[in-house]
């Protein structure tokens, strides 16, 4: 009678469907966890890496470079202090500086950050591979009460051009401190960039300062609306939270950085974006290693589960194996049988795991984008994924040697009559 080991394994597993399914599922969950963690890691890195390019220095009040990078570009955290307008102007006029972009932070609109800046932002800010943010609708702000909004903001609240919105003080969703008196008109909507720009609103520096100016004055004002439109264009900002600098020659960056860090008139920090981003990754890298190790242990747990179920059912299958022996199989064939079973379980687990990952990505991709601005890549399995799957297969097959050996020894001693 002709038979094949694989066919026999499949038939045997089919006979114990529940057990087989549970083994495969536990391996599938651990594979999904391992690959899911890799995907999230890739997504986080990509979205961070592509956020700013073409900027030589980022300057803010004296603070740690990582903190400055996080609040100025990624809108995480808050500036502990601002840099004075005087310092901003001094360095804008520095002979080595080609352009500067001021950034003023601290306000929000329904949970999204408001950034005070000027038209230099739309000329010089770059992201990804030197890409410039583009307008899908409208144009940049002209008058002081214009606001330009990012694509995610527009999508979430269905904002159109010309609508009036109110900015709030602070950065929470709910604010008890609205700048009611000074509504802003949507003058432009930016196309999607995949960066924190999508979740921001941009207003003119003068407009932002005017709100705060009004705020100081209208505290306690009981009647009517004070329209200070005519004041907005005249007010010079008193300070900014950060500035982006582009130099005329990139090789002078160390000198200018040193000059700003050692500026005696004000305590400032100047950072080089790529260097600081690399520092950030070194810090986060430790957490990534920890997550990877935890996922690895989950894989071991899954395979141990499969192993224990194979070993325990081996006892029940002694008769089945004795019958197979009687049909002409050698003990080595039994070893191969058990080995191929564990291989098939591993294979089934891997395939199921990949399926789980794609289903989970399909569900969570839009959620991750709207909650955290994290764009998790959805792509066919790449080299890293292949190595992970190969590793799990290898482990499950090696684990299969144990029941295989046990079956081998049992069959030698049992023969056809099973001695308990």
């Amino acid at each position: 009678m002709k038979y094949s080991v694989i066919g026999l394994s499949l038939a045997s597993m089919n006979n114990r469907r529940l057990c087989t399914f549970l083994c495969m599922f536990s391996i599938a969950m651990s594979v999904a966890l391992l690959i899911g963690v890799q995907r999230i890691r890739e997504g986080a890195r990509e979205s961070f890496n592509n956020t700013v390019s073409g900027t030589d220095l980022i300057v803010g009040a004296r603070t740690g470079p990582v903190q400055l990078l996080l609040y100025s570009v990624f809108h995480m955290g808050n500036p502990p202090n601002n840099l004075s307008w005087h310092s901003y102007q001094t360095f804008s006029q520095h002979p080595e500086v080609a352009w500067t972009v001021p950034l003023s932070l601290g306000d929000s609109h329904r949970g999204f950050r408001v950034v005070g800046t000027d038209e230099q932002f739309f000329r010089y800010f770059r992201y990804g591979q030197e890409k410039q943010p583009e307008f899908c609708n409208g144009q940049r702000f002209i008058s002081a009460d214009d606001v330009v909004i990012g694509s995610d903001v527009a999508k979430k609240f269905s904002y159109q051009l010309g609508m009036k919105i109110i900015l709030s003080h602070g950065i929470s969703d709910v604010s008890f401190h609205d700048h009611d008196d000074t509504p802003f008109r949507v003058s432009g909507i930016l196309c999607k960039t995949g960066t924190p720009v999508d979740r921001s609103l941009f207003v003119n520096l003068a407009g932002l300062d005017a709100i705060h100016h009004d705020m100081d004055h209208s505290h306690g004002a009981s009647s009517g609306h004070h329209h200070h439109h005519h004041d907005k264009e005249d007010i010079q900002p008193s300070s900014v939270s950060a500035m982006l600098i582009g130099l005329r020659s990139r090789t002078t960056v160390f000198h200018v950085q040193r000059e700003i860090n050692h500026y005696t008139q004000e305590a400032l920090t100047a950072l080089m974006p790529a260097m600081t981003l690399s520092e950030l990754w070194d810090i986060i890298g430790i957490a990534e290693v920890a997550m990877f190790i935890v996922s690895l242990f989950v894989v071991f747990a899954g395979i141990l589960g499969m192993l224990s179920s194979l070993l325990t059912t081996l006892n029940e299958r002694r008769r089945e194996l004795a019958i197979i022996r009687s049909l002409g199989a050698s003990p080595a064939d039994l070893f191969l049988l058990l080995l191929s079973e564990s291989l098939l379980l591993g294979l089934g687990g891997c395939l199921m795991g990949m399926l789980l990952v794609y289903v989970a990505l399909w569900i969570f991709h839009p959620l991750a984008e709207s909650w955290w601005g994290l764009s998790i890549p959805v792509h066919l399995p790449n080299m890293t994924d292949a190595l992970i799957l190969g590793g799990v297969l290898l482990l499950s097959t090696i684990a299969g040697c144990l029941p295989g050996l046990k079956a081998y020894r049992q069959s030698l001693s049992d023969g056809l009559t099973i001695r308990i």
């Binding site: 009678m1 592509n50 990139r250 090789t251 080089m272 191969l336 297969l393």
Partner: protein, 171 residues
Amino acid sequence: MQHKPSKNFVWSGGLGLILLSTALAYLLPQKSFMDEPLPQQGFSQDASVQVLSWKLLQQYDFKKKTIPPELRDFVGQKIRLPGFAVPLGGDLNSIRDFLFVPDQLACIHVPPPPPNLVLLVHSGKGQNINDLRGALWIEGVLTLSPSTSQYGAAAWELEADQIMPYKQPPS
């Protein structure tokens, strides 16, 4: 009842091959600059590539905009230089531009390298940040490009063909 043991061997042979290749994927060293034969310290196998010293590069007077003839000979030539890389640009997985300096810039007591000791390096192939850590050898054509900086009429630039880790020569 006859059975065909050879079929089993075919199956197990196939399985074994798949597993072996997976295992080898882990055991074999990853392709890296370490696989290439390291050049002799001090001079290259390729006679046309010379090792440049930072002291010579420093002789370019960026204030007076003069360059001594022995340094001028290297401009436009393929050279090799050891140093440290400082990445520029946002994407740390594919760095195409970086600055190359003689020391690691950690010491705050001395001024940063002057413009004649900083090279702007362009790499056709995007480099991963992990490949740019530590001391490196770079090899490529050296040029002096006009710059609009007040610090100097021109800045050193290099089009890098090869970037490899630096190994201390046996003393």
